[in-house]
Symmetry: C2
Subunit: 210 residues, 2 copies
């Protein structure tokens, strides 16, 4: 057993993160890893398979974490907390994977793309489910349209890959805390709407008017 395969993946991750999938040649990967074309193609069928492997390790991990969070908690509120927390933390563990995931997925070959899409949809479904449960059980504001709210949450978290730095002002755990706070503040039914409405020009379309 050799660890060349892992070394190739790590090198590629760095390079892809900085220059993008198409900005890096197999030759560069091979040189930076101190190996050869032969070494590379012994472990990977193609450059495209390497791209797939990177996608797959990340999404598989995220999916597993979400499932775990789903199982260990039963009430929607701790569920949301757990999912957001583990999801945010992933960006510290897998930052380069994620950059590649969101920047280069367009270039996955159809067969690979399908497999990734399946897992990604599964994850999305789980997040939406938790919100839905919470709305039905009365823990969360019922007036919020599920799809828009769900995508808002996914968006704010996913975007982390664009700005997060390990040496930044805040740790990943602090970011997770703030994000959880933000999400719960708009999910939980809160203060009397009257105060909120004072600032509104009109009642939003999705508020039940009776």
């Amino acid at each position: 057993m050799s660890d060349l395969r892992e070394k190739i993946i790590q090198t590629s991750l760095e390079l892809f993160d900085r220059h993008g999938f198409h900005g890096v040649t197999v030759k560069q990967i091979v040189q930076q890893t101190n190996t050869s074309k032969g070494g590379f193609y012994h472990h990977f069928q193609s450059k495209d398979e390497l791209l797939f492997v990177i996608h797959d390790t990340f999404i598989t991990y995220v999916l597993k974490e979400a499932q775990a969070a789903n199982v260990t908690h039963s009430s929607p509120i701790p569920k949301v907390q757990a999912i957001i927390q583990s999801f945010v933390q992933v960006f510290d563990l897998y930052k380069p994977h994620i950059s590649v995931f969101y920047q280069e997925s367009l270039y996955l070959k159809p067969a690979y793309e399908e497999e990734i899409k399946g897992k990604r949809d599964e994850f999305k479904r789980m997040v939406f489910n938790v919100i839905d449960e919470g709305q039905k059980s009365g823990h969360f504001r019922k007036e919020l349209p599920l799809e828009i709210t769900g995508m808002a949450i996914l968006g704010m978290v996913n975007w982390i890959y664009k700005w997060y730095r390990r040496d930044g002002t805040y740790t990943i755990d602090q970011i997770a805390e703030v994000f959880t706070d933000l999400v719960l503040h708009f999910l939980l039914p809160g203060k009397e709407d009257s105060e909120y409405f004072r600032h509104m020009l009109k009642v939003p379309f999705f508020y039940e008017s009776e």
Copy 2:
């Protein structure tokens, strides 16, 4: 004066949106536009310049809108509303531009990249400013860390390009309404925290404890 230039941009937008910048050749652009290499290179110095033009038209527009919203309102709450609304609406007007903007900016040549970065930072600065003003004037929750909150807002909005479809369930205006609602719900100081804290395992790090 000819309109070939515009036609080339439109075709490129479609193709880039579907296959990415590197998934489309100049030959393809030229064929789809019913022109020739000569026609293309008469209007653009290079493929990279085309990429820049696409980036620039979008970010310039967004910046102008934000500045307008900033000028027409003075209080932070309507300002936030106006900025979010115009920002979200952009995704209907410039969807293909934005896809290219967020997927391919890595491949901008240094000189181009710098110019775009300047405008993008300027926009970000404006958004952060509005939040900051609101916090200082007491309209918004002071405990929220500016950077994290700001990036959360930018993230949820920016992510729209990944999922928005014109023929989707909700119009862009409805999405803007919901997003504004979400943002204001976590920005505005609300109900007594006690109810919220009941659900928390601990007091978040960013709440002043005295």
